[in-house]
Amino acid sequence: MSKAFFIDTTLCTACRGCQVACKQWHDLPAEITKNRGTYENPPDLSFNTYKVVRMREQVVNGDLKWLFFPEQCRHCIEAPCLETAGDSSAIYRDDKTGAIIFTANTKNLNNVDEVIESCPYNIPRKAADGTLAKCDMCIDRVENGLPPACVQTCPAGAMNFGDRDEMLALAKKRLAEVKKKNPKAMLIDEDTVSVVYLVAYQPDLYCANAMASNADFLSITRHMALKRMIRPLTDLTSRLL
């Protein structure tokens, strides 16, 4: 059974313990930041930052909301990055968990920018030498029976992790509860990703890439369909040559 996260943003208090736990487990250096007139920091995901809690002030129906969204890789079921890279030594899916893993070999890819472009959620980030990095589902922890570091540390119950069925069931149960107060509540792209977010309001209020936009999806699908069509050919060609 593949694994999934269920991130209930309606319970998130943006303590950002998840952001720090992620850095701690992966031993990632802190970035030198400045206060930019917001609590949100670092300003974006980076090679050294796999997770950023987005904190956005929005007025919804005349009421002020401060919306929190722990942004991270969605570990797509059909991962465009993986398809685009086309090199399982650089990007592969861990069959047991469904984690999409970037390796050090990503620096050898000749289409790194295309890989980044292919992500409908704008997640992968590049080091100076071209190596790509992002959330790895704490696969080392998961393989040893531990939850991902961000889930372990969450005091609010916003971060959940487990078997996909279980997480989807939990997500649907919570959605029903939240809908009573917020009729526009929804799960984001739950059929296509392994990191399912529950939001109370429309996703774009939380952050730019909360949801894969239709346009993105279409172009990715087209792109991926094309790749798949070409691949047997290229394989064949390489064999013929």
Binding site: A30, K34, Y39, N41, W66, L67, F68, A156
Partner: protein, 814 residues
């Protein structure tokens, strides 16, 4: 906390006011969330929309320093609409007590007021004028029908009749509709079986009316029958993991361990001391628990001085330090005296006064006046390095600073006591790094050295030489020995040398010791109770977990729990009950005693039998009060028996709309040249407040050097409304100067919708807020300073906690 963290989940309505629980007590939100999941409502009242507000069912704002007006309006709402629990108020609180004719309240002053010419207190009250009327036996006259015009309930009603929503709104800036929404939701917990709780912190305490802020809530809780019940209570969210423990063990000047009183100079003998502080009640139904005072004070002296404490020498009472009558030795006064050159040296132990104390410029200058300072900390800080801080000239500073490196919490064994009074033992992880030592080792060695020096001579060496100082094993500090000493021993008789089981066994004749009677029962012959980790809940299944750690007193998880049952001992709340009387009844009378659930607040019979007859062997539920009743009328406080709205010392209004007294008539105001205060000065027209963020801890000493945390909150900021930013032409993210009459600092502007201007008495008042976690030592830029450079040296007349939550500032472009 009267209750504890887990118990928050049992609440039907949680009022988060004066705290920012989601940001500063993140774990508490686990239980807040659980309460919401069970249908509970969360109300958040805060000048600013915070991370807590995001999770509230009802959020509204108020201007800093106007909580009593807000809560006074709620008291009026409860009284006007008769939403109080009448049976509870009449029987368990002093709501029916008749107040003497001398009591009055006119134009913002209670009876007995006298202006103080000497200072720093502005004035004081003769509290005798607030006394209750007594019957022939010396027992307070009680009108259980609550009809007497001078009974507390009616005086309360009269006092708060002025607090109508229109006037409250004019003072607080809270829209009237929001006031009513909050009042209605919270007052609904007055229904039998419902519970409301309050989660507060420094947002309520750090005011010239800090104690009365909490008194206001206590009155509401008593009216609604919310004290003693599951999901109820008055819950202080402590600002550090062991603040509760340090207070219990007498961190503060005015108490000895276990909330015994510091001896006054006029308490010239042990007998005089005990007589002065042991309350007397003539009511046979009042347990008046403090009548046991001498047992606890003598056991403490036996613990301090061991065999040297004998009946003949008053158990060493003369060796205890005495404070001068009427004098104050609190933080503000200490630094005031230091500033005036009256202090020779001081220990800054595990703290950072240069950033944490109100009016930090004054505090820092005061440090120049001492000959020596010992800084015990895990890192150097703005205090230890004050002499090379901004504006200092090291060549002219005489102060000699000694740094003693302390190890960190995980490197030592011992206990902490959390907000819920749970004493929890922690084992040692890694050994202390380098030559750092645990606080225990440092103080043991220090004590030994001081003893050696006093052996050579010195003024009044007896207290030091006679001090029992044997908490070592193999030459090292032994936390178990201290924990056992705190619990106490039998010193004589058949159990000599054994640990005392409970404070009910302590004696006033010198045959027992206990360094803190409240902790007696924590470490017994059965073992270290605080190290227990049992996961089993009590039969009432409300999350008491009585076998997990240990809590004072005697492992009672919810104090005042005798008020959670009706007169016959049966719980108001049948589902989430705390205790219930399960004694046998015959012919309508209880004939045997048995309580189930939590450890009851005294195991006496209930006040009534099943047939409704009164029992003579019962006790009133509020056993720590002299008269056994919860105090709606609180005649012991310095500033009045009822909370009254006064403006902060520095405020944006020329007059108090509630009365002719602008600020607290009894608050302390200090008057050195470093104590500038300005009200309604056009140069400082914006209300300022300070607070914390999730990402930093206290003055930031432990978090600012931590790169991952500094990454999240790298700089000190000032939050302001879009309206104020527009007025001042300040752009989001730009550096600005924030100043008060006492100091200034540079901050990054966060222009936010989360602050809104207030409409106060027809004019617009702006408020800004600054976190106080920063200081010049770190980050390396040296540009990030403490918000306490702005805060004033004034505070609460009861506690002298500084008024850091409401003062006046200006914000300007750099």
């Amino acid at each position: 906390m009267t209750n504890h963290w887990i118990d928050i989940r049992n609440s039907d309505c949680i009022l988060i006011m004066g705290s920012n629980a989601a940001e500063n007590h993140p774990i508490s939100f686990k239980y807040v969330t659980e309460a919401q999941r069970r249908g509970g409502i969360v109300i958040n009242v805060d000048p600013r929309f915070t991370r807590t507000s995001t999770r509230a069912d009802i959020y509204t704002s108020l201007r800093s320093g106007t909580d009593i007006a807000f809560l006074g309006g709620m008291i009026k709402y409860i009284m006007d609409n008769k939403l109080y629990n009448k049976e509870y108020v009449a029987n368990y609180t002093n709501g029916g007590f008749v107040v003497g004719k001398a009591f009055s309240f006119k134009n913002g002053l209670f009876a007995g007021y006298k202006v103080n010419d000497i200072g720093p207190l502005r004035g004081s009250y003769d509290k005798k004028k607030w006394a209750f009327e007594m019957d022939a036996n010396g027992v307070p006259k009680i009108d259980h029908s609550l009809k007497n015009s001078r009974c507390v309930t009616n005086l309360l009603k009269k006092h708060y009749s002025r607090y109508n929503t229109k006037l409250v709104s004019k003072i607080t800036g809270t829209p009237e509709a929001d006031l009513l929404k909050v009042y209605k939701a919270y007052a609904a917990t007055g229904a039998t079986g419902k519970a409301g709780t309050s989660m507060y912190a420094m947002g309520w305490t750090q005011h010239t009316v800090g104690v009365q802020n909490i008194r206001s809530m206590a009155i509401i809780q008593l009216l609604l029958g919310n004290m003693g019940v599951a999901g109820g209570g008055i819950n202080a969210l402590r600002g550090e993991s062991n603040v509760q423990g340090s207070t219990d063990q007498c961190l503060l000047w005015h108490i000895w361990p276990g909330y015994l009183k510091s001896a006054r100079a006029s308490n010239t003998s042990l007998a005089a001391y005990n007589k002065k502080w042991t309350p007397k009640s003539n009511d046979p139904l009042s347990a008046n628990w403090w009548q046991n005072y001498p047992k606890y004070s003598v056991s403490l002296l036996k613990s301090f001085f061991g065999d040297k404490a004998t009946k003949a020498n008053d158990f060493g009472y003369d060796w205890m330090p005495k404070v001068d009558d009427g004098k104050d030795y609190s933080w503000l006064t200490l630094f005031d005296e230091m500033y005036k050159g009256n202090v020779t040296g001081f220990f800054a132990w595990g703290q950072n006064p240069a950033c944490s104390g109100a009016n930090s410029n004054k505090t820092r200058k005061a440090m120049e006046k001492v000959d020596w300072m010992v800084n015990v900390n895990i890192f150097d800080n703005e205090t230890g390095s004050f002499w090379r801080g901004p504006g200092m000239n090291p060549s002219t500073i005489k102060t000699e600073v000694f740094m003693l490196p302390a190890c960190v919490s995980v490197e030592k064994e011992g206990s902490i006591t959390n907000s819920g009074r749970w004493m929890q033992w922690r084992y040692q992880g890694p050994k202390p790094l380098g030559n750092s030592l645990s606080d225990g080792d440092i103080i043991m060695e220090l004590g030994n050295k001081i003893k050696e020096l006093y052996k050579e001579g010195g003024a009044f060496p007896e207290p030091i030489l006679n001090l029992k100082w044997d908490y070592v094993t193999d030459g090292l500090y032994d936390p178990h020995k201290v924990a056992k000493e705190i619990n106490g021993y039998y010193l004589e008789g058949p159990k000599k040398g054994k640990l005392v089981e409970s404070f009910s066994k302590l004696k006033a004749d010198g045959s027992t010791s206990s360094a803190n009677w409240l902790y007696c029962n924590s470490y017994t012959e059965k073992g270290n109770m605080s190290a227990r980790r049992g996961q089993k809940d009590a039969p009432n299944n409300i999350g008491l977990y009585p076998e997990f750690a240990w809590c004072w007193p005697v492992n009672r998880r919810i104090i005042y729990n005798r008020a959670s049952v009706d007169l016959k001992g049966q719980p108001w709340d049948k589902k989430d009950w705390v205790i219930r009387f399960a004694g046998e009844a015959k012919n309508g009378k209880y004939v045997s005693k048995k309580w189930l659930g939590d450890v009851p607040d005294g195991g006496w019979y209930p006040l009534e039998n099943p047939d409704g007859t009164k029992r003579k062997d019962a006790k009133h539920p509020f056993i720590m009060r002299k008269h056994g009743h919860g105090q709606i009328f609180g005649p012991g406080r310095a500033d009045g028996p009822f909370p009254e709205h006064y403006e902060p010392m520095e405020c944006p209004v020329e007059k108090n709309y509630m009365s002719g007294q602008r600020m607290s008539p009894v608050a302390p105001v200090y008057s050195t040249d470093a104590d500038a205060h300005m009200t309604c000065d056009p140069r400082f027209s914006i209300v300022g407040t300070t607070y914390r963020v999730s990402e930093h801890w206290q003055t930031g000493l432990m978090t600012r050097p931590q790169p991952w945390l500094l990454e999240l909150q790298p700089q000190v900021f000032v939050e302001m409304s879009e309206e104020l930013a527009k007025l001042k032409a300040i752009k989001n993210g730009e550096r600005v100067k924030v100043s008060s009459p006492r100091g200034a600092l540079e901050c990054t502007a966060i222009v936010t919708k989360r602050f809104k201007p207030f409409k106060i008495g027809g004019t617009i008042v702006h408020e800004v807020g600054i976190p106080w976690h920063f200081g010049w030592r770190w980050p390396e830029s040296g540009t990030e300073e403490s918000a306490n450079l702005l805060t004033p040296s004034t505070g609460d007349p009861n506690t002298r906690i500084p008024e850091s939550k409401a003062f006046m500032v200006n914000v300007s472009k750099m």
